[in-house]
């Protein structure tokens, strides 16, 4: 009995990580209807950046992370302003292929720069620390912090979107970019800011991901798929829905892994397909898409 509870608990906490992966993707799609195929690779890039700052500059992971945040924001702003603003629009082929090309460039640039070796972010011991609960079940500190970070990021993003002028502007641009211009809103600049925010969220995801597991330049696409599945399971338009989607994905994966470790990924994909077949708008979609 406690084994099942433990499995589900691990899955829920894993869902927090997947929600972190998904939040940036959902944000970008919500504001500018862009699915960024390089999203996973940008998370991996952020992880390498934290690693670089932590090790090469001897700053340690936490300081490295804090420094990486504004750097990744700037990178996102420049990426959108310089490249992606040219392909945002009604046609889906251009942004798809551009971000796909970007994904390939990023992976191979990281391979060239950092080699294919697996790396890991380390702090002193907190990665393995755990809090005992009951009956021998313990909760890992790192997974718990990851989950709390996901909740925190979602609360922060919701505050931004629903309580600030900038958030109102984001939602206006998402509804009707042309009329938004009549309000004096520069939609191109807003898109750049949104991408900057999304990459900052990716950096948070990268921190917890890198502390938890090994990473190498090629694992980006896998993260994109997890993010995507969490968004679809949860439903478009709601970040809390995305958290729910991540949790369902995480639990499906841990249950699958508990039966046979080779089945972890497949179990997650199957959960996604089942939701797609039975509730194509997701489990908690917002009324207005």
């Amino acid at each position: 009995m406690t084994e099942i509870f433990d499995t589900i608990l691990q899955g829920v906490l894993l869902g927090g990580l997947y929600a972190l992966f998904a939040a940036g993707l959902a944000l970008i799609f919500g504001v500018m209807r862009l699915v960024n195929l390089a999203h996973g690779d940008l998370i991996v890039l952020a992880a390498y950046l934290i690693l670089l700052l932590a090790n090469a500059l001897h700053l340690g992971v936490i300081l490295g992370f804090l420094l990486a945040l504004p750097l990744m924001f700037a990178a996102g702003y420049l990426l959108q302003a310089g490249l992606l603003n040219r392909v945002v629009g009604d046609d889906i082929l251009a942004p798809l292929l551009t971000t796909f090309g970007l994904s390939i460039i990023l992976q191979n640039a990281m391979l060239t720069g950092f080699s294919a070796d697996s790396r890991r972010l380390t702090t002193d011991g907190i990665e393995t620390a755990s809090l005992p609960l009951f009956n021998g079940v313990a909760i890992g500190i790192m997974p718990l912090l990851t989950f709390l970070a996901a909740v925190g990021v979602i609360i922060a993003l919701n505050q931004l979107f629903y309580r600030t002028a900038l958030g109102r502007a984001f939602r206006a641009v998402s509804d009707d970019p042309v009329t938004a211009r009549l309000m004096g809103i520069d939609d191109r600049q807003l898109f750049a800011i949104a991408m900057g925010i999304a990459l900052a969220v990716c950096t948070v995801a990268a921190l917890f991901f890198g502390l938890r597991a090994n990473f190498d330049p090629t694992i980006g696409p896998g993260r994109l798929i997890f993010a995507f599945e969490a968004v679809i399971i949860g439903g478009l338009g709601s970040l809390w829905g995305t958290l729910a989607g991540g949790i369902i994905l995480g639990v499906a994966q841990t249950i699958g892994a508990s039966i046979n470790p080779e089945w972890q990924l497949l179990a997650g994909h199957l959960a996604f397909l089942v939701v797609l077949a039975t509730a194509p708008r997701g489990l908690f979609p917002r009324a207005v898409d």
């Binding site: 002028a165 109102r168 939602r171 009707d176 009329t179 938004a180 009549l182 309000m183 520069d186 207005v288």
Partner: protein
């Protein structure tokens, strides 16, 4: 010097030429109406004025400064706001949020703020937290005008505000216009309802197939002249 004037303004949608050399002027404090049948180019003209359609720099002047070809954001900053055709409220925002978005370009508050817009249209205060899409047509039109006012424009462009509304609602809307004028806003009104347009306007332009066919004060224009200018025969 006129508040806004256009000189030989042309505009096109791709290969289709919609405006052929429009000369237009409005003084500060005036209300100017533009009438004409469907497809005459009235809305196209407003879109060119607020920067949604490209035009050559010298063809539009605000306070003597050329603004043709400026971005819509730039034009809002300079004091021209539009209540667009079809209302175009932001669907996922509430009424109050729609109004607040209108103030995006405002660095310092002016005459038109949330309280003053609510005073102008009390119905909006009642519905302030409702989603914009839950309002009736007339209420949405009030919200659209209110949203445009929030940028404290010197010139407000109203595109077909009576479209699809019942006569009594139209009357209420137009009753608010004098108070808008008192707040220091000049008005350009595109209107299909000729009687309503003539009742509020200081001057009238009539468009037909992308050209100005008649202009003057309402009292100076005979019914026959208007009919000819409107329909072309």
């Amino acid at each position: 010097m006129a508040l806004l004037e256009t000189h030989d303004l042309t505009a096109r949608y791709g290969d289709f030429k919609a405006l052929f050399g429009i000369d237009f002027a409005i003084e500060a404090g005036e209300t100017v109406a533009i009438i004409g049948s469907n497809g005459a180019g009235k809305s196209t003209f407003l879109r060119a004025l607020c920067g949604l359609l490209a035009s050559s720099p010298q063809s539009i002047r605000l306070d003597g400064e050329p603004i043709g070809g400026a971005s819509p954001a730039e034009i809002v900053r300079r004091g021209i706001a539009m209540a667009p055709e079809g209302r175009k409220l932001f669907a996922s925002l509430s009424v109050e949020e729609n109004l607040l978005v209108g103030a995006w370009s405002q660095k310092t508050p002016g005459h038109w703020t949330l309280p003053s817009v609510y005073e102008l249209f009390p119905m909006l205060r009642e519905k302030r937290l409702a989603p914009a899409t839950a309002l009736s047509g007339g209420q949405q039109q009030m919200a659209t005008i209110g949203r445009a006012l929030m940028s404290n424009p010197r010139l407000l462009l109203c595109d077909e505000i009576s479209l699809g509304l019942a006569p009594i609602v139209i009357r209420d809307l137009y009753a608010a216009l004098p108070r808008i004028k008192q707040g220091g806003v000049s008005l350009v009104i595109v209107e299909q309802d000729i009687a309503q347009a003539m009742a509020v306007a200081d001057r009238v332009y009539c468009f037909q197939e992308g050209r100005v066919t008649l202009t003057g004060a309402p009292s100076q224009l005979s019914r026959d002249a208007i009919h000819e200018a409107y329909f072309g025969h």
